[in-house]
Assembly symmetry: C2
Homo-oligomer: 111 residues x 2
């Protein structure tokens, strides 16, 4: 599902996706501006996102479902309504416990 | 209500506040890191936040309630689950239609 990015000053929905549609929905960018990028990451139950990091700080907010968030030796469980902040370059990995969607906000620092 | 900031890699709730508690809850910072700041802004029905701007880009996500968001000549209505991105230095004002809480994420650029 290719969606155009929203523009600044445009109202966009970050409500939970319809549970029946979630399995066919790809992750997508919501906003990409100069300083901030916002995306909805969609993972199906059991799906993994291997360890990676980002150049800037991020926040991850669970919009629906449940995801295990591995950060170093620690695993955190995020459920709908939970938010976590990660430092720049913090390696992390994800595993969806249930179908889930996550709102990820990245700081796009000048490199 | 003075709450300590959450640390990075700490799971925090951004669920709606209990409707009975909202009227006594002050806005508070959730995270203040180097690049990103996250806060919950609480407004009671009819409450105004006068026109202001921020040095960096922001996103505003309505967590509960309803707020009118004035941006230039335009007024946008944000309900729970709506998100908006604002450019740096975009003057904006708010008026709560109903008691509401908003998740505001700011990019803290090096000044």
């Amino acid at each position: 599902m290719a969606l155009p990015h929203a523009q600044s000053a445009q109202v966009v929905s970050v409500r939970p996706l319809d549970a029946a549609l979630l399995p066919q929905t790809q992750s997508y960018a919501i906003i990409k501006a100069q300083q901030l990028e916002v995306m909805r990451v969609v993972l199906r139950a059991g799906e993994l996102m291997r360890q990676h990091d980002t150049p800037g700080e991020i926040t991850v907010q669970c919009l629906q479902g449940e995801v295990e968030f591995q950060l170093g030796q620690n695993v955190h469980l995020l459920r709908a309504g939970d938010l976590m902040h990660l430092q720049a370059r913090a390696p992390h990995a994800l595993r969806a416990v249930h179908d889930c969607s996550l709102l990820v906000t990245l700081c796009l620092l000048p490199l």
